[in-house]
């Protein structure tokens, strides 16, 4: 007689796998941390996503940042508090250009850590960047990210977001 495992792992038996959706859409905030990554995130924002908000670190506040209770802006110029952007998200994706200033990672990362929101950081434009530039950005992202990805191909972020059902 066939074992339970043998009977249940055939392609025929697997046709009975329940077809109902098994997860709700996860709310995702995608944040450009520096001016160099903004066009990249802006292009992503033009695509269709299930539940994504696209934000950027306001250029005018510069490296000093807007303070612990600071704010981000949408790509159409509306302000939103970091706390609100994090509170409304199940996961936060931070995007920084290789060699770019990613000071905002600390502020956003701390807010995520306080609220137990998962963080992923991506360094884009790595294909043509010097190792020193990547290292500089990496050092700023690393303490605040559960996962850091250094992608030589910028289309990786789109694939990753699709894979994560953003």
């Amino acid at each position: 007689m066939l074992s339970e495992s043998a009977r249940m792992t055939t392609a025929a038996a697997l046709r009975f796998r329940i077809q109902e959706p098994n997860a709700r859409a996860r709310a995702t905030s995608v944040i450009a941390l520096d001016p160099a990554s903004e066009p990249f995130v802006a292009r992503l924002a033009e695509d269709r996503w299930n539940h994504a908000t696209f934000l950027k670190w306001p250029e005018e506040v510069g490296a000093a940042g807007p303070g612990a209770d600071g704010w981000l802006t949408t790509f159409d110029g509306r302000r939103t508090r970091i706390r609100e952007a994090v509170d409304s998200a199940d996961q936060v994706i931070m995007v920084a250009a290789a060699g770019g200033r990613a000071d905002a990672a600390a502020l956003i990362g701390r807010a995520c850590s306080d609220r137990r929101v998962t963080t992923t950081a991506l360094i884009v434009g790595a294909a043509d960047a010097a190792d020193a530039d990547i290292s500089k950005t990496l050092a700023q992202l690393r303490p605040w990210s559960l996962m850091v990805v250094i992608a030589s191909s910028d289309d990786y972020v789109r694939d990753m977001m699709t894979a994560l059902r953003v």
């Binding site: 792992t9 996962m147 850091v148 250094i150 994560l164």
Partner: protein, 428 residues
């Protein structure tokens, strides 16, 4: 998740498929050299990439790998006589040499030249490091011979095994780059398995069960770094190598040997899991070899005379619920290899990736799929050879290393991630 057409593209590797064309760009392991132990030994059936083949070793020691079936009436050449530099079909005596060329058709006059017009499809088969390798692609694009370190060290330094896995190659391979499962599924084995225990790195593993990951593209595939806390604010890094399409190398532990896998499609529902262990600078000890043969470490005990694991789906993987409850094993299945295989096979022959819900720590898997899909497209659309074909992509090592907190592992372990003859691997 992957769309269905992407999943099909990566999981289907038969002739004429894009995924099959990718695999046919590489030398792939076909047999253990010990399966053809001597000249004129019995031929061996081989199914690879959904092609049924027969392998043999002729009277002069030359290896042949060709279409399993006689061109005359379709008899399996597994029944053939291996004699006088060829395989002779026992039905009507047609004979083939190691290239698949028919050299005798006894019923036809020799002068007719009929035999010269018959040739079975064949592939080169070479021995390197105790493994027989084949290249099943376009002969005009045949790459240089494989250069993986485990097949270039002296024979006494290396041990390779293979086992049948009853799932598609991709879900098996993805387990090899999914570092976050180790803290759960294999947690019982670090301090007990003779091929792992005693390493200082194990303490870092067990004291910090929430590693942080970094995924970095390498020339041949990926470096996947798992970071845990060490002393004095430093980080303990375990760096896995993935080289396209299906080679992985796991970070070593202490002075134990370094190890890894190949996953090679048999067909779309099954694959060979190849497992190797080697030490760059010393011979493996008798105790280590005995442990490997006994299914310890990443190796698996198999049914005698076969490569099917002793614990398999027909016996529910010998699951031991009492051991699971007592915490001796996390899943109830014994041994690292079968802990992985049992769960991967439970997904079914080809897992439906449209239903999965990946999370941030799955970025190694996501990136590997991304690179595979891009490589397939570049190969099919433009004929560009994929990463992993070049010898320098194969001369890599995994590493375990402690680094200052501000040092990227790619910099700190740069030298350690390159295979160098007679240089020890970086291990903690």
């Amino acid at each position: 998740m992957l769309r269905k057409e992407q999943n099909d593209l990566l999981t289907q590797t038969g002739p004429g498929t894009p995924g099959g064309r990718l695999f046919r760009s590489y030398w792939v392991p076909a047999l253990l050299a010990g399966e053809l132990p001597e000249n004129d030994c019995p031929p061996v059936r081989v199914k690879l990439l959904s092609e049924r083949l027969i392998a043999f070793r002729d009277s002069n020691g030359r290896y042949g790998l060709m279409d399993e079936f006689c061109a005359h009436r379709g008899v399996s050449l597994w029944f053939a006589r291996n004699e006088e530099c060829g395989l002779r079909c026992p039905y009507h005596g047609w004979k083939y040499d190691h290239t698949g060329q028919c050299v005798e058709v006894p019923s036809e006059p020799e002068a007719s030249g009929f035999a010269g017009k018959i040739k079975l499809k064949s592939y080169p088969l070479i021995e390197k490091g105790g493994v027989l390798w084949t290249y099943m692609g376009d002969p005009a694009s045949q790459p240089p011979e494989p250069e993986w370190e485990f097949i270039t060290v002296p024979a006494g330094h290396t041990y390779t095994s293979k086992r049948l896995q009853e799932s598609n190659w991709l879900q098996a391979m993805e387990g090899g780059i999914d570092s976050s499962h180790v803290s759960f599924l294999h947690r019982g084995d670090l301090n007990s398995d003779p091929l792992f225990k005693g390493a200082k790195g194990n303490q870092y593993n067990l004291s910090d069960s929430r590693p942080v990951f970094e995924v970095v593209e390498s020339p041949g595939g990926l470096y996947i770094g798992a970071r845990r806390n060490a002393e004095d604010g430093k980080y303990y890094w375990r760096i896995t190598q993935w080289v396209m399409p299906s080679f992985t190398m796991i970070a070593p532990r202490g002075n134990h040997s370094v190890h890894g896998h190949f996953w090679i499609p048999i067909d779309d529902d099954t694959c060979w899991t190849w497992s190797f262990d080697y030490h760059p600078i010393r011979e493996l000890t008798a105790a280590e070899l005995a442990a490997m043969r006994d299914g310890k470490g990443i190796h698996v005990k198999v049914e005698p005379g076969t490569y099917r694991p002793l614990a398999n789906k027909d016996n529910d993987y010998l699951i031991d619920r009492a051991a699971q409850k007592a915490g001796r094993t996390f899943s109830g299945v014994e041994g690292i290899g079968m802990q992985d295989a049992s769960l991967q096979e439970s997904m079914g022959p080809v897992v439906d990736r449209t239903k999965e819900n990946l999370v941030s720590t799955d970025n190694g898997i996501i990136m590997a799929r991304h690179r595979l899909l891009k490589a397939v497209k570049a190969l099919v659309d433009k004929g560009i050879a994929p990463p992993g074909v070049a010898a320098e992509h194969q001369r890599v090592r995994s590493a375990a290393i402690v680094l200052p907190p501000d040092q990227p592992f790619k910099d700190g372990a740069r030298e350690a991630m390159i295979a160098r003859p007679s240089v020890a691997h970086a291990s903690v």
